[in-house]
Protein backbone atom coordinates (compact mmCIF):
# COMPACT_ATOMS: atom_id res chain seq x y z
CA UNK A 1 0.00 0.00 0.00
CA UNK A 2 1.39 3.38 -0.86
CA UNK A 3 0.40 6.93 -0.22
CA UNK A 4 -2.00 8.09 -2.83
CA UNK A 5 -3.29 11.55 -3.46
CA UNK A 6 -6.26 11.13 -1.17
CA UNK A 7 -5.72 14.17 1.00
CA UNK A 8 -5.32 13.13 4.59
CA UNK A 9 -8.22 10.74 4.96
CA UNK A 10 -6.09 7.60 4.84
CA UNK A 11 -3.48 9.01 7.18
CA UNK A 12 -6.18 10.11 9.62
CA UNK A 13 -7.78 6.71 9.46
CA UNK A 14 -4.49 4.89 10.06
CA UNK A 15 -3.50 7.10 12.99
CA UNK A 16 -6.95 6.84 14.53
CA UNK A 17 -6.84 3.04 14.47
CA UNK A 18 -3.54 2.75 16.40
CA UNK A 19 -4.34 1.24 19.79
CA UNK A 20 -3.32 2.13 23.33
CA UNK A 21 -0.52 -0.23 24.43
CA UNK A 22 -1.96 -0.68 27.92
CA UNK A 23 -5.63 -0.81 26.97
CA UNK A 24 -5.55 -2.26 23.44
CA UNK A 25 -9.34 -2.35 23.21
CA UNK A 26 -9.10 1.44 22.80
CA UNK A 27 -7.85 3.21 19.72
CA UNK A 28 -6.01 6.51 20.13
CA UNK A 29 -9.11 8.19 18.72
CA UNK A 30 -11.31 6.42 21.31
CA UNK A 31 -8.97 7.47 24.09
CA UNK A 32 -9.06 11.08 22.95
CA UNK A 33 -5.29 11.53 22.71
CA UNK A 34 -5.21 11.98 18.93
CA UNK A 35 -5.44 15.74 18.54
CA UNK A 36 -4.75 16.17 14.85
CA UNK A 37 -3.21 14.99 11.59
CA UNK A 38 -1.88 17.49 9.11
CA UNK A 39 0.19 17.40 5.92
CA UNK A 40 3.63 18.91 5.66
CA UNK A 41 4.45 17.86 2.11
CA UNK A 42 3.69 15.05 -0.33
CA UNK A 43 3.39 11.83 1.65
CA UNK A 44 4.55 13.59 4.83
CA UNK A 45 2.27 14.03 7.81
CA UNK A 46 2.47 15.40 11.33
CA UNK A 47 0.38 13.67 13.98
CA UNK A 48 -0.40 15.52 17.21
CA UNK A 49 -0.87 13.51 20.41
CA UNK A 50 -1.59 14.69 23.93
CA UNK A 51 -0.36 12.80 27.00
CA UNK A 52 -2.93 11.38 29.41
CA UNK A 53 -0.93 11.66 32.65
CA UNK A 54 2.36 13.66 32.85
CA UNK A 55 4.46 10.55 33.40
CA UNK A 56 2.55 7.95 31.41
CA UNK A 57 5.18 5.90 29.54
CA UNK A 58 2.59 4.67 27.05
CA UNK A 59 2.99 7.92 25.12
CA UNK A 60 6.39 6.78 23.81
CA UNK A 61 4.87 3.56 22.51
CA UNK A 62 1.91 5.37 20.97
CA UNK A 63 4.31 7.69 19.19
CA UNK A 64 6.38 4.82 17.82
CA UNK A 65 3.29 2.86 16.79
CA UNK A 66 1.81 5.86 14.97
CA UNK A 67 5.04 6.38 13.03
CA UNK A 68 5.32 2.69 12.11
CA UNK A 69 1.69 2.21 11.11
CA UNK A 70 1.83 5.30 8.92
CA UNK A 71 5.10 4.14 7.42
CA UNK A 72 3.43 0.83 6.58
CA UNK A 73 0.72 2.88 4.85
CA UNK A 74 3.29 4.80 2.82
CA UNK A 75 3.59 7.99 4.86
CA UNK A 76 6.59 9.59 6.44
CA UNK A 77 5.22 10.71 9.79
CA UNK A 78 6.44 12.54 12.82
CA UNK A 79 4.65 13.14 16.07
CA UNK A 80 4.21 16.39 17.92
CA UNK A 81 3.03 16.84 21.48
CA UNK A 82 0.08 19.02 22.44
CA UNK A 83 0.03 19.97 26.12
CA UNK A 84 -2.98 22.26 26.18
CA UNK A 85 -5.78 21.71 26.86
CA UNK A 86 -4.84 18.93 29.28
CA UNK A 87 -6.35 15.52 28.53
CA UNK A 88 -9.51 14.58 30.37
CA UNK A 89 -11.15 11.19 30.75
CA UNK A 90 -14.25 12.98 29.42
CA UNK A 91 -12.58 12.74 26.00
CA UNK A 92 -12.93 8.94 25.89
CA UNK A 93 -15.53 8.31 23.20
CA UNK A 94 -18.80 6.46 23.72
CA UNK A 95 -17.45 3.67 21.52
CA UNK A 96 -14.37 3.56 23.72
CA UNK A 97 -16.50 3.30 26.86
CA UNK A 98 -18.40 0.40 25.36
CA UNK A 99 -15.13 -1.29 24.42
CA UNK A 100 -13.83 -0.87 27.98
CA UNK A 101 -16.96 -2.48 29.43
CA UNK A 102 -16.87 -5.26 26.86
CA UNK A 103 -13.35 -6.10 28.07
CA UNK A 104 -14.21 -6.12 31.76
CA UNK A 105 -13.09 -2.59 32.62
CA UNK A 106 -15.28 0.04 34.23
CA UNK A 107 -15.52 3.29 32.24
CA UNK A 108 -14.99 6.68 33.90
CA UNK A 109 -17.84 8.93 35.02
CA UNK A 110 -17.74 12.70 34.49
CA UNK A 111 -14.37 14.27 35.42
CA UNK A 112 -14.30 16.33 38.64
CA UNK A 113 -14.09 20.06 38.27
CA UNK A 114 -14.64 19.87 34.58
CA UNK A 115 -15.88 22.97 32.88
CA UNK A 116 -16.99 24.75 36.04
CA UNK A 117 -13.49 25.04 37.49
CA UNK A 118 -11.89 28.14 36.04
CA UNK A 119 -8.11 28.20 35.69
CA UNK A 120 -6.39 29.52 38.78
CA UNK A 121 -9.25 28.66 41.14
CA UNK A 122 -8.22 26.88 44.38
CA UNK A 123 -8.83 23.14 44.54
CA UNK A 124 -10.79 21.95 47.61
CA UNK A 125 -9.33 19.18 49.77
CA UNK A 126 -11.35 15.95 49.86
CA UNK A 127 -10.77 13.95 53.04
CA UNK A 128 -13.73 11.63 52.61
CA UNK A 129 -13.08 8.38 50.76
CA UNK A 130 -13.64 8.36 47.02
CA UNK A 131 -17.17 7.20 46.21
CA UNK A 132 -18.36 6.31 42.75
CA UNK A 133 -21.65 4.77 41.71
CA UNK A 134 -20.27 1.89 39.65
CA UNK A 135 -21.62 -1.35 38.36
CA UNK A 136 -19.49 -4.44 37.97
CA UNK A 137 -18.44 -4.70 34.31
CA UNK A 138 -18.64 -8.49 34.57
CA UNK A 139 -21.96 -9.22 36.27
CA UNK A 140 -23.64 -5.80 36.36
CA UNK A 141 -24.13 -5.74 40.14
CA UNK A 142 -24.13 -2.35 41.82
CA UNK A 143 -22.44 -3.40 45.07
CA UNK A 144 -18.72 -2.86 44.62
CA UNK A 145 -15.83 -2.07 46.96
CA UNK A 146 -12.88 0.17 46.21
CA UNK A 147 -9.67 -1.80 46.80
CA UNK A 148 -7.26 0.98 45.88
CA UNK A 149 -7.37 4.35 44.17
CA UNK A 150 -4.13 3.37 42.43
CA UNK A 151 -3.73 0.49 40.01
CA UNK A 152 -1.32 -1.09 37.58
CA UNK A 153 -1.32 2.05 35.45
CA UNK A 154 -1.70 5.69 36.45
CA UNK A 155 -5.18 5.87 34.94
CA UNK A 156 -6.91 3.05 36.82
CA UNK A 157 -8.33 2.28 40.28
CA UNK A 158 -8.97 -1.23 41.61
CA UNK A 159 -12.40 -2.49 42.66
CA UNK A 160 -14.00 -5.75 43.66
CA UNK A 161 -17.57 -6.81 43.04
CA UNK A 162 -19.43 -7.97 46.14
CA UNK A 163 -21.83 -10.08 44.08
CA UNK A 164 -19.54 -12.08 41.80
CA UNK A 165 -16.44 -11.47 43.96
CA UNK A 166 -14.34 -10.68 40.91
CA UNK A 167 -11.83 -7.82 40.96
CA UNK A 168 -11.99 -5.25 38.18
CA UNK A 169 -10.28 -2.07 37.09
CA UNK A 170 -11.94 1.32 36.81
CA UNK A 171 -10.58 4.02 34.52
CA UNK A 172 -10.36 7.08 36.76
CA UNK A 173 -11.98 10.42 36.22
CA UNK A 174 -9.43 13.15 35.62
Amino acid sequence: MSAVDDGLETAREVAAQVTDPEMPMLTLADLGVLRGVRAEGPGRVVVTLTPTYSGCPALATMRDDVVHRLRDAGYAARVEVSLSPAWSSDWISEGGRQALRAHGLSAPGPAPGGAERRSGAPVPLTLAPVRRALTCPRCGAGEVDLTSEFGATACKALYRCRACREPFEHVKEI
Binding site: V46, G55, T61, E80, L83, S84, A154
Partner: protein
Protein backbone atom coordinates in the same frame (compact mmCIF):
# COMPACT_ATOMS: atom_id res chain seq x y z
CA UNK B 1 24.36 -4.45 28.19
CA UNK B 2 26.46 -2.60 25.68
CA UNK B 3 26.31 1.04 26.43
CA UNK B 4 27.74 2.38 23.21
CA UNK B 5 26.64 0.13 20.36
CA UNK B 6 23.36 -1.36 19.25
CA UNK B 7 22.85 -4.98 20.19
CA UNK B 8 24.26 -7.64 17.88
CA UNK B 9 22.02 -8.93 15.12
CA UNK B 10 20.39 -12.23 15.88
CA UNK B 11 20.36 -11.73 19.65
CA UNK B 12 17.88 -13.32 22.00
CA UNK B 13 16.04 -10.00 22.15
CA UNK B 14 15.00 -10.01 18.51
CA UNK B 15 11.66 -11.56 19.37
CA UNK B 16 10.84 -8.53 21.46
CA UNK B 17 11.03 -6.23 18.50
CA UNK B 18 7.62 -5.31 17.30
CA UNK B 19 8.55 -4.18 13.82
CA UNK B 20 11.68 -6.04 12.88
CA UNK B 21 11.04 -6.43 9.15
CA UNK B 22 12.66 -3.25 7.91
CA UNK B 23 14.24 -1.80 11.00
CA UNK B 24 17.69 -2.38 12.32
CA UNK B 25 20.15 -0.73 14.66
CA UNK B 26 19.11 2.61 16.06
CA UNK B 27 15.79 2.59 14.27
CA UNK B 28 14.65 -0.63 15.90
CA UNK B 29 12.12 -0.26 18.68
CA UNK B 30 11.63 -2.44 21.68
CA UNK B 31 8.19 -3.90 22.19
CA UNK B 32 7.66 -1.09 24.67
CA UNK B 33 9.00 2.16 23.28
CA UNK B 34 11.96 3.42 25.23
CA UNK B 35 13.73 5.79 22.90
CA UNK B 36 14.27 9.38 23.85
CA UNK B 37 12.18 11.96 22.14
CA UNK B 38 11.74 15.60 22.97
CA UNK B 39 8.79 15.73 25.39
CA UNK B 40 8.07 19.20 24.01
CA UNK B 41 8.24 18.16 20.31
CA UNK B 42 6.22 20.65 18.31
CA UNK B 43 5.45 22.83 21.33
CA UNK B 44 6.22 26.53 20.81
CA UNK B 45 8.93 27.15 23.41
CA UNK B 46 9.62 30.80 22.53
CA UNK B 47 10.20 32.79 25.71
CA UNK B 48 7.39 35.37 26.19
CA UNK B 49 8.21 39.01 25.43
CA UNK B 50 9.88 40.89 28.22
CA UNK B 51 10.93 37.75 30.11
CA UNK B 52 14.60 37.02 30.78
CA UNK B 53 15.26 33.48 29.50
CA UNK B 54 17.58 32.89 32.47
CA UNK B 55 14.83 33.89 34.93
CA UNK B 56 12.32 31.51 33.35
CA UNK B 57 14.86 28.66 33.16
CA UNK B 58 15.96 29.09 36.78
CA UNK B 59 12.33 29.03 37.90
CA UNK B 60 11.56 25.88 35.87
CA UNK B 61 14.59 24.21 37.45
CA UNK B 62 13.22 24.91 40.93
CA UNK B 63 9.84 23.37 40.11
CA UNK B 64 11.39 20.56 38.09
CA UNK B 65 13.97 19.66 40.73
CA UNK B 66 11.30 19.60 43.45
CA UNK B 67 9.38 17.05 41.38
CA UNK B 68 12.44 15.02 40.37
CA UNK B 69 13.90 14.60 43.84
CA UNK B 70 10.54 13.91 45.49
CA UNK B 71 9.82 11.38 42.75
CA UNK B 72 13.12 9.63 43.43
CA UNK B 73 12.52 9.49 47.18
CA UNK B 74 9.05 8.03 46.53
CA UNK B 75 10.41 5.51 44.05
CA UNK B 76 12.81 4.28 46.74
CA UNK B 77 9.69 3.07 48.57
CA UNK B 78 8.99 0.59 45.80
CA UNK B 79 8.55 -2.88 47.39
CA UNK B 80 8.82 -1.42 50.94
CA UNK B 81 5.32 -0.03 51.54
CA UNK B 82 3.04 -1.61 54.19
CA UNK B 83 0.89 -3.29 51.56
CA UNK B 84 0.83 -3.84 47.82
CA UNK B 85 -1.84 -1.24 47.11
CA UNK B 86 0.13 1.45 48.93
CA UNK B 87 3.31 0.39 47.18
CA UNK B 88 1.57 0.96 43.86
CA UNK B 89 0.10 4.26 45.06
CA UNK B 90 3.54 5.63 45.93
CA UNK B 91 5.00 4.36 42.65
CA UNK B 92 2.15 5.97 40.70
CA UNK B 93 2.74 9.25 42.49
CA UNK B 94 6.46 9.02 41.77
CA UNK B 95 5.66 8.47 38.09
CA UNK B 96 3.37 11.51 37.90
CA UNK B 97 6.05 13.67 39.48
CA UNK B 98 8.74 12.28 37.21
CA UNK B 99 6.59 13.23 34.24
CA UNK B 100 6.19 16.76 35.60
CA UNK B 101 9.95 16.94 36.22
CA UNK B 102 10.75 15.82 32.69
CA UNK B 103 8.54 18.49 31.15
CA UNK B 104 9.82 21.22 33.47
CA UNK B 105 13.49 20.39 32.96
CA UNK B 106 12.91 20.25 29.19
CA UNK B 107 11.20 23.64 29.43
CA UNK B 108 14.16 25.05 31.37
CA UNK B 109 16.56 23.77 28.73
CA UNK B 110 14.46 25.15 25.87
CA UNK B 111 14.24 28.57 27.56
CA UNK B 112 17.96 28.82 28.25
CA UNK B 113 20.23 26.09 26.84
CA UNK B 114 23.00 27.56 28.97
CA UNK B 115 21.65 25.73 32.03
CA UNK B 116 22.29 22.30 30.51
CA UNK B 117 25.55 20.56 31.48
CA UNK B 118 27.88 20.07 28.51
CA UNK B 119 28.40 16.40 27.62
CA UNK B 120 30.99 14.81 25.31
CA UNK B 121 30.39 15.28 21.59
CA UNK B 122 28.10 12.60 20.24
CA UNK B 123 26.27 12.03 23.50
CA UNK B 124 22.63 11.07 22.85
CA UNK B 125 21.54 12.24 26.32
CA UNK B 126 18.60 14.67 25.94
CA UNK B 127 18.76 18.01 27.78
CA UNK B 128 16.31 17.05 30.55
CA UNK B 129 18.37 13.93 31.31
CA UNK B 130 21.59 15.92 31.26
CA UNK B 131 20.03 18.20 33.88
CA UNK B 132 18.85 15.29 36.01
CA UNK B 133 21.96 13.14 35.85
CA UNK B 134 24.92 15.42 35.20
CA UNK B 135 24.53 18.22 37.71
CA UNK B 136 26.20 18.15 41.11
CA UNK B 137 24.30 18.62 44.36
CA UNK B 138 24.94 22.37 44.65
CA UNK B 139 23.42 22.92 41.18
CA UNK B 140 20.05 21.51 42.22
CA UNK B 141 17.38 24.04 43.21
CA UNK B 142 14.76 21.96 45.06
CA UNK B 143 13.75 22.56 48.66
CA UNK B 144 15.39 20.40 51.33
CA UNK B 145 12.08 18.85 52.39
CA UNK B 146 12.08 16.60 49.31
CA UNK B 147 15.68 15.42 49.65
CA UNK B 148 16.06 14.25 53.26
CA UNK B 149 16.45 10.52 53.75
CA UNK B 150 13.30 8.40 53.82
CA UNK B 151 11.96 7.27 57.19
CA UNK B 152 8.92 5.20 58.11
CA UNK B 153 5.52 5.25 56.44
CA UNK B 154 4.34 8.21 58.54
CA UNK B 155 7.39 10.10 57.28
CA UNK B 156 6.55 9.57 53.63
CA UNK B 157 2.89 10.59 53.96
CA UNK B 158 3.79 13.73 55.94
CA UNK B 159 6.48 14.64 53.41
CA UNK B 160 4.04 14.07 50.58
CA UNK B 161 1.31 16.13 52.24
CA UNK B 162 3.57 19.13 52.90
CA UNK B 163 5.29 19.07 49.51
CA UNK B 164 2.17 18.46 47.43
CA UNK B 165 -0.02 20.96 49.32
CA UNK B 166 2.40 23.77 48.50
CA UNK B 167 2.97 22.51 44.96
CA UNK B 168 -0.73 22.34 44.19
CA UNK B 169 -1.30 25.88 45.49
CA UNK B 170 1.58 27.11 43.31
CA UNK B 171 0.59 25.20 40.16
CA UNK B 172 -3.01 26.37 40.40
CA UNK B 173 -1.72 29.94 40.10
CA UNK B 174 0.72 28.93 37.36
CA UNK B 175 -2.22 27.98 35.15
CA UNK B 176 -2.33 31.70 34.39
CA UNK B 177 1.42 32.03 33.75
CA UNK B 178 2.44 34.29 30.88
CA UNK B 179 4.54 31.35 29.67
CA UNK B 180 2.04 29.12 27.85
CA UNK B 181 4.29 26.07 28.23
CA UNK B 182 4.51 26.46 31.99
CA UNK B 183 0.76 27.15 32.13
CA UNK B 184 0.03 23.92 30.25
CA UNK B 185 2.37 21.83 32.41
CA UNK B 186 0.71 23.33 35.48
CA UNK B 187 -2.84 22.68 34.28
CA UNK B 188 -2.03 19.01 33.81
CA UNK B 189 -0.11 18.80 37.08
CA UNK B 190 -3.01 20.30 39.05
CA UNK B 191 -5.17 17.29 38.20
CA UNK B 192 -2.50 14.89 39.47
CA UNK B 193 -1.58 16.87 42.57
CA UNK B 194 -5.24 17.05 43.55
CA UNK B 195 -5.55 13.29 44.11
CA UNK B 196 -2.00 13.03 45.47
CA UNK B 197 -2.81 15.61 48.16
CA UNK B 198 -6.10 13.89 49.01
CA UNK B 199 -4.30 10.56 49.32
CA UNK B 200 -1.59 11.89 51.63
CA UNK B 201 -4.08 13.86 53.73
CA UNK B 202 -6.31 10.81 54.24
CA UNK B 203 -3.34 8.81 55.47
CA UNK B 204 -2.34 11.54 57.91
CA UNK B 205 -5.87 11.46 59.34
CA UNK B 206 -5.90 7.65 59.48
CA UNK B 207 -2.54 7.47 61.23
CA UNK B 208 -3.47 10.31 63.60
CA UNK B 209 -6.77 8.66 64.55
CA UNK B 210 -5.44 5.10 64.37
CA UNK B 211 -3.55 3.17 67.02
CA UNK B 212 -1.31 4.62 69.70
CA UNK B 213 1.64 3.42 67.66
CA UNK B 214 0.48 4.96 64.37
CA UNK B 215 -0.19 8.25 66.18
CA UNK B 216 3.20 8.16 67.89
CA UNK B 217 4.93 7.68 64.55
CA UNK B 218 2.87 10.38 62.86
CA UNK B 219 3.69 12.91 65.58
CA UNK B 220 7.35 12.00 65.19
CA UNK B 221 7.20 12.59 61.43
CA UNK B 222 5.39 15.92 61.89
CA UNK B 223 8.02 17.10 64.38
CA UNK B 224 10.80 16.03 62.06
CA UNK B 225 9.47 17.50 58.82
CA UNK B 226 7.45 20.57 59.89
CA UNK B 227 10.64 22.62 60.40
CA UNK B 228 11.32 22.18 56.67
CA UNK B 229 7.98 23.69 55.58
CA UNK B 230 8.89 27.41 55.88
CA UNK B 231 11.56 26.97 53.21
CA UNK B 232 8.81 26.08 50.70
CA UNK B 233 6.98 29.33 51.44
CA UNK B 234 10.02 31.62 51.65
CA UNK B 235 10.36 34.25 48.94
CA UNK B 236 13.52 33.27 47.10
CA UNK B 237 14.80 35.97 44.69
CA UNK B 238 14.53 33.54 41.78
CA UNK B 239 10.86 32.95 42.45
CA UNK B 240 10.17 36.63 43.08
CA UNK B 241 11.84 37.53 39.78
CA UNK B 242 9.76 34.94 37.91
CA UNK B 243 6.60 36.20 39.60
CA UNK B 244 7.44 39.82 38.68
CA UNK B 245 7.91 38.73 35.06
CA UNK B 246 4.45 37.15 35.12
CA UNK B 247 5.70 33.62 34.53
CA UNK B 248 6.11 32.36 38.11
CA UNK B 249 4.44 32.40 41.51
CA UNK B 250 5.74 34.08 44.63
CA UNK B 251 5.42 31.26 47.20
CA UNK B 252 4.70 33.80 49.93
CA UNK B 253 1.38 34.38 48.18
CA UNK B 254 0.25 30.79 48.79
CA UNK B 255 1.15 30.65 52.49
CA UNK B 256 -2.34 31.46 53.77
CA UNK B 257 -3.97 28.88 51.50
CA UNK B 258 -1.42 26.23 52.49
CA UNK B 259 -1.98 26.99 56.18
CA UNK B 260 -5.73 26.60 55.77
CA UNK B 261 -5.41 23.22 54.04
CA UNK B 262 -2.91 21.89 56.56
CA UNK B 263 -5.07 23.11 59.47
CA UNK B 264 -7.99 21.24 57.97
CA UNK B 265 -5.95 18.01 57.85
CA UNK B 266 -4.51 18.47 61.33
CA UNK B 267 -7.97 19.12 62.77
CA UNK B 268 -9.40 16.00 61.12
CA UNK B 269 -6.50 13.97 62.50
CA UNK B 270 -6.85 15.40 66.02
CA UNK B 271 -3.38 16.88 65.76
CA UNK B 272 -1.81 20.09 67.00
CA UNK B 273 0.31 22.23 64.72
CA UNK B 274 3.91 21.24 65.50
CA UNK B 275 5.89 23.85 67.38
CA UNK B 276 9.37 22.85 66.21
CA UNK B 277 11.55 25.76 65.07
CA UNK B 278 12.23 26.09 61.32
CA UNK B 279 15.50 24.93 59.81
CA UNK B 280 17.86 27.80 59.19
CA UNK B 281 20.33 28.48 56.42
CA UNK B 282 20.15 29.55 52.79
CA UNK B 283 18.33 26.42 51.69
CA UNK B 284 17.90 24.34 48.59
CA UNK B 285 16.70 27.11 46.26
CA UNK B 286 20.19 28.61 46.64
CA UNK B 287 21.89 25.26 46.10
CA UNK B 288 22.64 24.63 49.79
CA UNK B 289 21.63 21.05 50.51
CA UNK B 290 21.99 18.34 53.13
CA UNK B 291 24.44 15.45 52.98
CA UNK B 292 21.45 13.21 52.21
CA UNK B 293 21.24 14.70 48.72
CA UNK B 294 24.83 13.79 47.86
CA UNK B 295 24.29 10.12 48.67
CA UNK B 296 20.94 10.08 46.88
CA UNK B 297 22.48 11.58 43.74
CA UNK B 298 25.41 9.17 43.85
CA UNK B 299 22.88 6.38 43.61
CA UNK B 300 20.56 8.07 41.10
CA UNK B 301 23.25 9.35 38.73
CA UNK B 302 25.97 6.70 38.79
CA UNK B 303 24.88 4.66 35.76
CA UNK B 304 24.18 7.67 33.55
CA UNK B 305 27.50 9.28 34.49
CA UNK B 306 29.44 6.10 33.79
CA UNK B 307 28.04 6.05 30.23
CA UNK B 308 27.61 9.60 28.91
CA UNK B 309 27.58 8.19 25.38
CA UNK B 310 25.24 5.33 26.26
CA UNK B 311 22.23 4.32 24.22
CA UNK B 312 19.69 2.28 26.11
Amino acid sequence: MSATTPGPAGSAYDGLLEHDADLTGDAAQWAFGTDFEDPLAGVDTAVPDGVEPAVLAAYCLMLGDDALVLSHRLSQWCSHAPDLEEDIALANTALDLLGQARLLLARAAAADPGVVPVLPAGSPVPPEDALAFFRDAEQFRHVRLVEVENGDFAHVVVRLLLAVTVRLAVLVRLEDSRDPVLAAIAAKGVKELTYQRDHAARWVVVLGQGTAESRRRLLGALDELWPLLPELLARHPGEVAAARAGVGVDPGDVAAEVDAVLDQVLAAGGLDRPAAAPWEGAGGRSGVHTADLASMLADMQSVARAHPLGRW
